[in-house]
């Protein structure tokens, strides 16, 4: 299998198709990789660096791709590893600092969420602050939990695809998702009220 892939890579190189093939890959996966990286690290510069690094790795390892997993699973695996490496390297704590004492009135009004687009400047401010709060809570999760949540909710991968990308069992994926959501719910309870 590996031999076949390598032969294919050589064939492509000899025919001058490598560059075109690689461009196609970049076109197809650029936004997915950036979204995943941004989702996990929540920093545009780091996400950009990771995207660049992931494509460099893809370029370097294109010939060794064994075809045992799907190509996108393989790419997600490289992306996730790069993100986790970056987070470990930086050992970041929460990046978002917010003014303390913002009360959203969720409990008071009994209406936990503002649904829909902001209509007034006040709503726009509320939405911005809400986003920041969600981001802050998300950054308190461990890299593994963030990854599971991003791959499921942003990238829309199935449990099986996530398990393949993270090289773990479906059970582990489910438990990580469950824990991540529970913790997010707990952290954001003051924001949207715990109606359950």
């Amino acid at each position: 299998m590996a031999k076949k892939a390598a032969e294919r890579a050589i064939h492509h190189r000899e025919n001058g198709n490598d560059a075109e093939r690689f461009r196609k890959i970049v076109d197809d996966f650029r936004s997915r990789i950036y979204h995943t990286a941004y989702g996990i690290v929540q920093d545009p510069d780091d996400a950009k660096d990771i995207t660049q690094e992931v494509f460099l790795k893809i370029y370097e390892k294109m010939g060794t791709f064994k075809g045992e997993a799907s190509f996108s699973t393989w790419i997600y695996r490289i992306t996730v590893n790069a993100c986790i490496d970056m987070l470990r390297k930086k050992k970041t704590g929460p990046q978002v600092s917010l003014r303390e004492g913002i009360h959203y009135g969720a409990r008071e009004t009994g209406s936990p969420l503002i649904v829909g687009r902001p209509d007034s400047p006040f709503d726009a401010t509320y939405q911005t602050e809400l986003r920041a709060k969600i981001k802050e809570a998300f950054l308190k999760l461990s890299p593994e939990h963030r990854t599971a949540l991003v791959l499921r909710e942003i990238e829309g991968l199935s449990y099986q695809e996530i398990a393949n990308s993270l090289e773990c069992s479906v059970g582990t994926v489910m438990s990580r998702l469950h824990y991540a959501r529970k913790r997010m719910q707990k952290l954001l309870a003051p924001v949207w009220g715990d109606s359950r």
């Binding site: 590996a2 031999k3 390598a6 032969e7 890579a9 050589i10 190189r13 560059a19 690689f22 461009r23 970049v26 076109d27 650029r30 936004s31 950036y34 979204h35 941004y38 989702g39 929540q42 545009p44 996400a47 950009k48 995207t51 660049q52 494509f55 460099l56 370029y59 370097e60 390892k61 294109m62 010939g63 060794t64 936990p112 969420l113 649904v115 809400l130 986003r131 920041a132 969600i134 981001k135 998300f138 949540l149 991003v150 499921r152 909710e153 942003i154 199935s158 449990y159 998702l177 469950h178 959501r181 997010m184 719910q185 954001l188 949207w192 109606s195 359950r196």
Partner: protein, 170 residues
Amino acid sequence: MRRCRKIQKDMERYLDKELLPEKIHGFEDHLRTCVRCRRVLDEKREQRRLRVESLIPDEIPITTDEIIFAIQGESVPEGAVPSSMEDTTPWWKKLKTLTFRPVPAIAFAVCLIALGLSLFLPFGSHTHRKPGIVIEEIESTHSFVIYRPQHTGTTVIWIVPAKRGSKEAT
């Protein structure tokens, strides 16, 4: 009530589209009749929407061309050909297997001679050998330092900020 708890436990899996097919029917039947569960599901859906909205970037600040351009500067990847596939025959043995084709060989030799002549004969002033970067003139309102590391072909011009007065180049 117990049924509601069970249904709410399955909600995230339902939203993930991972609820077992045999459970979906009962789940949706219950939602049709239970206002409370429907409200909880709507809230969960909305929270998820907000979560996604908050965690995705506003734009993708990196273009395909930028990525390709950055990588094109790199050398040919080592891993592109697995080591098991690499040809280990020494180059001098490969020479024996080459077939001599007089026409291209002579043409190549002539071309090399022509190229050599064009490089070394003084056809024009531009053929004189000079160092990598020549600074012809500088005008500056600030002090500046020129630095040429010996081991690289790089030249550095450091404009010293007006108030600091010390250069930061090592």
